[in-house]
């Protein structure tokens, strides 16, 4: 039984159709990554999952229930969103920000108790931002801020985590830190991770399954091995991309081919 059921979803921004007839199922505990060229509708699809964007047609079911049938707080207890852009001059400290994740669990006056503080502390320890607890969000680096927002999402205790390019603009060490964090969360808490990413190699190394989106339509769904092939990627992204194997993991590895080397591609492909 699938946890998230996307059925023939179409979405529009004004007259422009951004998502066309997308259908896909995501299972409990899966690490699911949405990839595709710029403007393919990845972020829009993620927003549709979180109920932030009204559907034009089709439906999104979470635990067999349409997203629209959830009350806002109930939906926030079911899924947490880590957006791409975070307001940097947000005037709160790290601890205050993480504690805000408790909002969907609190009563009318939204005053946190001991248990909420404990959960926030655990989340901050997990994402290694506990030492920053008293700092303001604006004083942090991009990677730190991203980890704070993930801690807030963890504090929200939702079983589904939606992330929009969490590793964009981070250096390799910080990229790995975020991805390993997701992996650990999934194993420890049985959390389902749905992530939008531009980094095909990170996607390949961590994802159970990939969804390749182009111009709002599904090009391919499957394991990294099924989706990340030279032919498929070169056609979808409109540039030559060579795929070989990660030396340790054996997962597909995507290599960029600069213009000066394009002449040698055919020969290389035959060699592999």
């Amino acid at each position: 039984m699938s946890l998230i059921d996307i059925r023939a979803v179409s979405l529009q921004y004004g007259p422009r159709q951004v998502i066309r007839q997308v259908s896909v199922n995501i299972g409990q505990g899966e690490f699911f990554v949405i990839i595709g060229p710029n403007g393919a509708g990845k972020t829009t699809l993620l927003k549709a999952l979180s109920g932030l964007h009204p559907l034009h047609s089709g439906e999104v079911l979470i635990r067999q229930r349409p997203v629209g049938a959830y009350a806002r707080k109930e939906l926030a207890r079911t899924l947490a969103l880590v957006p791409q852009q975070i307001n940097a001059d947000f005037p709160f400290t790290v601890a205050e920000t993480v504690l805000m994740g408790r909002y969907p669990h609190l009563g009318l006056l939204a005053v946190e108790g001991k248990r909420d503080l404990q959960l926030a502390e655990q989340a901050m320890e997990f994402t290694e931002v506990i030492d920053l607890a008293g700092r303001r969000l604006g004083q942090l680096s991009g990677g730190e801020r991203q980890r704070v927002i993930i801690a807030r999402a963890i504090c929200q205790q939702s079983k589904i985590l939606l992330l929009d390019e969490p590793t964009a603009s981070l250096d390799p060490a910080h990229q790995l830190r975020i991805m390993d964090l997701m992996e650990r969360l999934r194993l420890k808490e049985q959390i389902t991770v749905v992530m939008v990413s531009h980094d095909l190699n990170l996607a390949s190394a961590y994802a159970d399954r990939l969804l390749l989106l182009k111009e709002g339509m599904v090009e391919k769904v499957g394991t990294p091995r099924e989706v990340l092939t030279s032919a498929q990627l070169s056609q979808s992204y409109g540039c030559t991309l060579l795929v070989d194997e990660h030396p340790l993991l054996g997962t597909p590895r995507v290599n960029l081919v600069p213009e000066k080397a394009t002449a040698r591609v055919t020969g290389h492909r035959e060699g592999v």
Partner: protein, 334 residues
């Protein structure tokens, strides 16, 4: 936890401290004044000394309604500023500067000229006036997304327009009910009487509603989408807050005319001291705003050697320079 004081603890400390401030303000407001000496008034309040019927009348029939009115108006205006600043994401937003107060004053005067009584006719007209201006201001801020100038300039113009309408209406009216022009333009608490207090009770449910929406207000500062993803029903919360705030403002304008800058001064000072958590700021603004206007009114009626001046003069003398400083700071580090 390091670097974090639990909200309930902050709330208790802040509420107790500021309640003390309010008590001091109320006591001073009752005992100080141009007539009767202060020491005798203290004696009377403490229940000692010789009974003095005149002083008793001054304290309970004249000063008490005025202190209560000042407290209610001050609390409502500073809370209004706090809510507008958060919702419009503009640190300079405030009921007076945005023209919302002006709109409700025009409504109130029209209500009087139409021959309505204070409640419900005049209050409804005033509420409608403030909503109309608020709608205009929101449209202005929508058209130029993120532009704080458009919002402020629009507000200033709406304010100037409302001021002109007020003067025009007062000039052509023959009704005695329309009080002196200074009452509407600079704000004045001298019209306070025991009869006007019941309507002021209407602001109390508004206070409670805003307090219950304080955490959603915090979340809204992260952006509408994020707040929504975290469980806030953004459209409902925004609508309820805007309507509640303009209701609150229009109720106070009916009693006090246009008192400016309270909604700017108090929230800014409190944010500097207490941080940005609205769950703490809402009660803090309420208590401090109330105390502040009592003090301002005390100055307004005791400083002039003859008669008294409008309380709006005092709040503008404090608030307008602060506005300039804030504008200056915003320009320097955007």
């Amino acid at each position: 936890m390091l670097g974090y004081i639990p909200v309930y603890r902050k709330l208790i400390i802040v509420t107790l401290t500021l309640s003390l401030l309010l008590s001091v303000a109320v006591l001073l407001g009752l005992t100080c004044g141009s007539s009767g000496d202060t020491a005798a008034a203290w004696q009377l309040l403490l229940g000692r000394g010789a009974p003095d019927a005149t002083l008793e009348t001054i304290i309970w029939q004249l000063r008490w309604p005025r202190v209560v009115l000042a407290a209610g108006v001050g609390a409502a205006l500073s809370l209004g500023g706090l809510v507008f600043q958060a919702l419009l994401r503009n640190p300079l937003a405030e009921p007076y500067i945005l023209g919302v107060s002006g709109g409700s004053a025009v409504g109130a005067i029209l209500g009087i000229l139409a021959g309505f009584s204070l409640f419900p006719g005049m209050a409804i007209c005033s509420f409608a006036g403030s909503l109309a201006v608020l709608l205009l201001v929101l449209l202005l801020s929508k058209r130029k997304e993120g532009s704080s100038d458009a919002l402020l300039l629009g507000g200033v113009m709406v304010n100037a327009f409302c001021g002109a309408i007020i003067m025009f209406l007062i000039s052509i009216s023959k009704t005695v009910q329309v009080q002196k022009m200074i009452f509407w333009l600079m704000g004045d608490l001298s019209a306070a009487g025991t009869a006007s207090l019941p309507l002021l009770l209407g602001v109390i449910p508004c206070f409670l509603l805003i307090f219950m929406l304080a955490q959603p207000l915090n979340l809204l500062l992260t952006g509408r989408e994020t707040a929504s993803a975290m469980g806030v029903n953004v459209a409902v919360v925004t609508l309820v807050l805007l309507i509640t705030t303009s209701l609150m403002v229009s109720l106070t304008v009916c009693h006090s005319g246009l008192i400016g800058f309270v909604g700017l001064t108090i929230p800014h000072i409190l944010r500097l001291i207490l941080g940005s958590d609205h769950r703490v700021l809402v009660p803090a603004c309420l208590l401090t705003g109330a105390s502040y206007l009592i003090f301002c009114d005390l100055l307004a009626r005791s400083l002039p050697s003859q008669g008294e001046m409008a309380v709006g003069i005092v709040t503008a003398m404090v608030g307008a320079p602060l506005f300039i400083v804030l504008l200056w700071r915003e320009r320097r580090c955007p």
